[in-house]
C-alpha cells in the first residue's frame, strides 16, 4: 500500500510543484493542492504511464483526492 502512495506522491510533487508534506491521502487536488481541471487530467495521464494501466474517463472523473487515486490503483492491482 505504502508503495503505491509513495509513487503517487512523487508524481504529484513533481507535476504540481507542491511540498511533500501537503500530499496526504485526504488532500483534495483542487482545494488543497491548487490543481486546476487540466492539471488533474494530466496527473491521471502520468499515473496511467507510471502504473501501466488505463483509467476510463468515468473513473477518472471520480478522482478528487490523493486517496481516491491511490485506492483506485490498489483496487486494480489486487
Amino acid at each position: 500500500m505504502a508503495d503505491v502512495f509513495d509513487r503517487v506522491k512523487d508524481i504529484i510533487v513533481d507535476k504540481l510543484d507542491v511540498e511533500e508534506s501537503k500530499v496526504t491521502m485526504e488532500a483534495s487536488f483542487k482545494d488543497d493542492l491548487e490543481a486546476d481541471s487540466l492539471d488533474v487530467v494530466e496527473l491521471v495521464m502520468e499515473l496511467e504511464d507510471e502504473f501501466d494501466m488505463e483509467i476510463a474517463d468515468e473513473e477518472a472523473e471520480k478522482i478528487n483526492t490523493v486517496g481516491d487515486a491511490v485506492n483506485y490503483i490498489n483496487s486494480l492491482q489486487s
Binding site: L38, V41, E42, M45
Partner: protein, 246 residues
C-alpha cells in the same frame, strides 16, 4: 524551419491537404499522410515527400471513428517519436438545398468535417501535453463565416470548427499548445474545376483580388502557423480568400 518536427495531415492525398503535407515536408518536417479511400494518391504524396529528404508514410483512417484515429496517432508517435503538428484538413461535401437535404447528408458532413476535428484533436492532446508544445491547425472555410446557399451541412460544420478552435485554444494554451483555424475561400482544386464558366465568373466578381487561390497559397499560411513565427497566435481564424470576406 520545421526541421525534426513531426506532422500529421488528415485528408492529405489530394487538393489542399496534399499541398499542406508537401509544404511542411519542404520545411523539414516528417509527415504522416492520412487518407480515407485514395490509397494510390496517398502513396504518390508519400513518394513525393520522401524525395525532399524527410520521412513520410501513408495511413488510412476515417477521422470520425475514434478507435481508428487513436490507432493512427499511436502509429505516428511510434514511427516519428513525437507529434508536433496536427492539421485537421479531411473534409467532404454533400451539397443540397436545405429543403432537399437528407438527414443522412447532414450527418455525414458533420461527422467527418466537425466531429472528425474533435476526435483527432482529442487523440493528439495527450502527446502534446506531455511535450508541453504542439500546433493544431484546423482547415475551416470562408463559408463557415459568411454562409453559402446549398451548403447548410458544410457551413454548419465549418462554423463549428471555428468555435471548436477557439475553445480548444483556451483549454490548451497553458500547455503551450496553439490552436488556430484557416478559412480558405475559392481555391483551385478538383472541386472548383467542376464549376461552369458562368459560376466561375460569378465567383470572381466577389473577390477583390479577382482570382482563385491555389492550394499552395493555403499551405504557406499553414506553414506559418506551424512555425516559431506564430508563437503568439492562438484561437484565430485566418481568412485566405483574396479579400472576399472582411
Amino acid at each position: 524551419m520545421l526541421k525534426g518536427k513531426s506532422a500529421l495531415v488528415t485528408g492529405a492525398s489530394r487538393g489542399i491537404g496534399r499541398a499542406i503535407a508537401l509544404e511542411l515536408a519542404r520545411q523539414g518536417a516528417n509527415v504522416a499522410v492520412n487518407y480515407a479511400g485514395s490509397e494510390a494518391k496517398a502513396q504518390a504524396v508519400v513518394e513525393e515527400i520522401e524525395q525532399l529528404g524527410v520521412n513520410a508514410f501513408k495511413i488510412q483512417a476515417d477521422v470520425s471513428d475514434e478507435s481508428s484515429v487513436k490507432a493512427m496517432v499511436k502509429e505516428v508517435i511510434g514511427q516519428f517519436g513525437s507529434l508536433d503538428i496536427l492539421v485537421n484538413n479531411a473534409g467532404i461535401t454533400r451539397d443540397n438545398l436545405l429543403m432537399r437535404m437528407k438527414e443522412e447528408e447532414f450527418d455525414q458532413v458533420i461527422n467527418t468535417n466537425l466531429k472528425g476535428v474533435f476526435v483527432c484533436t482529442k487523440a493528439v492532446t495527450r502527446q502534446m501535453m506531455k511535450q508541453k508544445s504542439g500546433r493544431i491547425i484546423n482547415v475551416a472555410s470562408i463559408v463557415g463565416v459568411s454562409g453559402n446557399p446549398g451548403q447548410a451541412n458544410y457551413v454548419a460544420a465549418k462554423a463549428g470548427v471555428i468555435g471548436l478552435t477557439k475553445t480548444t485554444a483556451k483549454e490548451l494554451a497553458s500547455r503551450n499548445i496553439l490552436v488556430n483555424a484557416i478559412a480558405p475561400g475559392f481555391i483551385s482544386t478538383d472541386m472548383t474545376d467542376e464549376l461552369t464558366d458562368e459560376q466561375r465568373e460569378g465567383m470572381l466578381a466577389m473577390i477583390p483580388l479577382a482570382k482563385l487561390g491555389t492550394p499552395e497559397d493555403v499551405a504557406r499560411v499553414v506553414r506559418f502557423l506551424a512555425s516559431e513565427d506564430a508563437n503568439y497566435i492562438t484561437g484565430q481564424t485566418i481568412h485566405i480568400d483574396g479579400g472576399m470576406v472582411m
